[in-house]
């Protein structure tokens, strides 16, 4: 598979995975601030083994940077969403997928700009 296309799949998958785990752990947490902080921490810890697992296949930095942003960013926002009563797990996971894909897209264009400088 083209590695540039793989970057988008990895971003989307990692975002969904972080959101899923954060939702499963924090869906009973009523305090949004605590959920946000814990979500960020869970995300950061979760993406670490994922980075090490993916690096040999798709490149170290191309995994490290997006997953670093996704881990904390998606973790925090998914934590906040999980703390809101009435929001289903599917919505949180969908947000994670979308945010992961957005991060991959932003990095794709940032890289294009810097490489063409």
């Amino acid at each position: 598979m083209n590695l540039k296309i793989a970057d988008f799949f990895i971003g989307t998958f990692a975002g969904g995975l972080v959101a899923l785990v954060v939702y499963l752990v924090l869906s009973t947490q009523p305090n949004m601030l605590i959920a946000m902080v814990l979500g960020g921490l869970i995300g950061m810890v979760l993406v670490l083994p994922l980075k090490i697992l993916l690096m040999p296949f798709v490149g170290a930095f191309e995994v490290m940077i997006p997953l670093g942003i996704i881990g904390m960013g998606v973790g925090m926002t998914a934590g906040m969403l999980s703390a809101i009563s009435g929001i289903s797990g599917y919505v949180v996971i969908a947000w994670g997928n979308l945010a992961g894909c957005m991060v991959a897209t932003i990095i794709y264009f940032a890289n294009k700009r810097l490489v063409n400088q």
Partner: protein, 200 residues
């Protein structure tokens, strides 16, 4: 750390596997950069020789590495190269070469690993001819604060695993060692760079 014998002897077995993704990404950029190799070439940190496949044919290369296990694993790639590669086990921070010996010096992801990058670069300047070129394919600390934070965090992990630092200011170190950067190309974000430097 391709120039730290203890840790790199340990990771030599897995080195090709860990670097496979990077090699897939960097092939075209390395081939473009390596066109600048000419004359008598010193290749610092040959490792398992993964980059040899991207070298133009017909070069006269002296390749050094601190790790004997790495040098052993580079054997097949060295044999397959259509040119001359002579390998030595040597510390890049204190080589056995005379002053002004080489026309070109190549480093590929080495200055992130040596214990003292400034000392290493001064040593490279010593063995490089005054009109020679230092060709570097290196990763550095990003100027973007978000990327830099991630690299600094991950640097603790990579330092523990194999002695590689992700937060080095290689461009600044080269300039402080007396080099002037003549060509500067970003390969991935502002982290992985293809650089050509000359003595200032």
């Amino acid at each position: 750390m391709k120039t730290n014998n203890k840790s790199y002897d340990g990771v030599a077995k897995f080195f090709d596997f860990f670097r496979a993704g990077d090699m897939r990404r960097w092939g075209p950029d390395q081939r473009a950069l390596f066109k600048n190799l000419k004359g008598r070439v010193l290749y610092i940190g040959i490792g398992t020789g993964q980059e040899i496949v991207n070298f133009p044919p017909g070069l006269d290369i002296t390749a050094v590495d601190m790790s004997y296990a790495m040098l052993e694993r580079s054997h097949a790639r060295v044999q397959n190269y259509r040119g001359k590669i002579h390998r030595c086990q040597m510390d890049a921070q204190a080589t056995a070469f005379q002053d002004n010996t080489f026309d070109t010096i190549l480093t590929v992801c080495v200055l992130c690993s040596v214990n003292q990058p400034a000392i290493c670069l001064k040593e490279l300047k010593r063995v490089l001819k005054p009109d020679g070129e230092l060709v570097m394919f290196e990763h550095v600390l990003s100027k973007n604060p978000v990327y830099a934070l991630i690299l600094k965090f991950m640097s603790h992990v990579t330092e523990y695993l194999e002695g590689t630092y992700l937060d080095r200011d290689t461009v600044g170190n080269a300039e402080r060692a007396g080099f002037k950067i003549h060509s500067h190309k970003n390969v991935y974000l502002d982290i992985v760079k293809a650089l050509i430097a000359k003595s200032a």
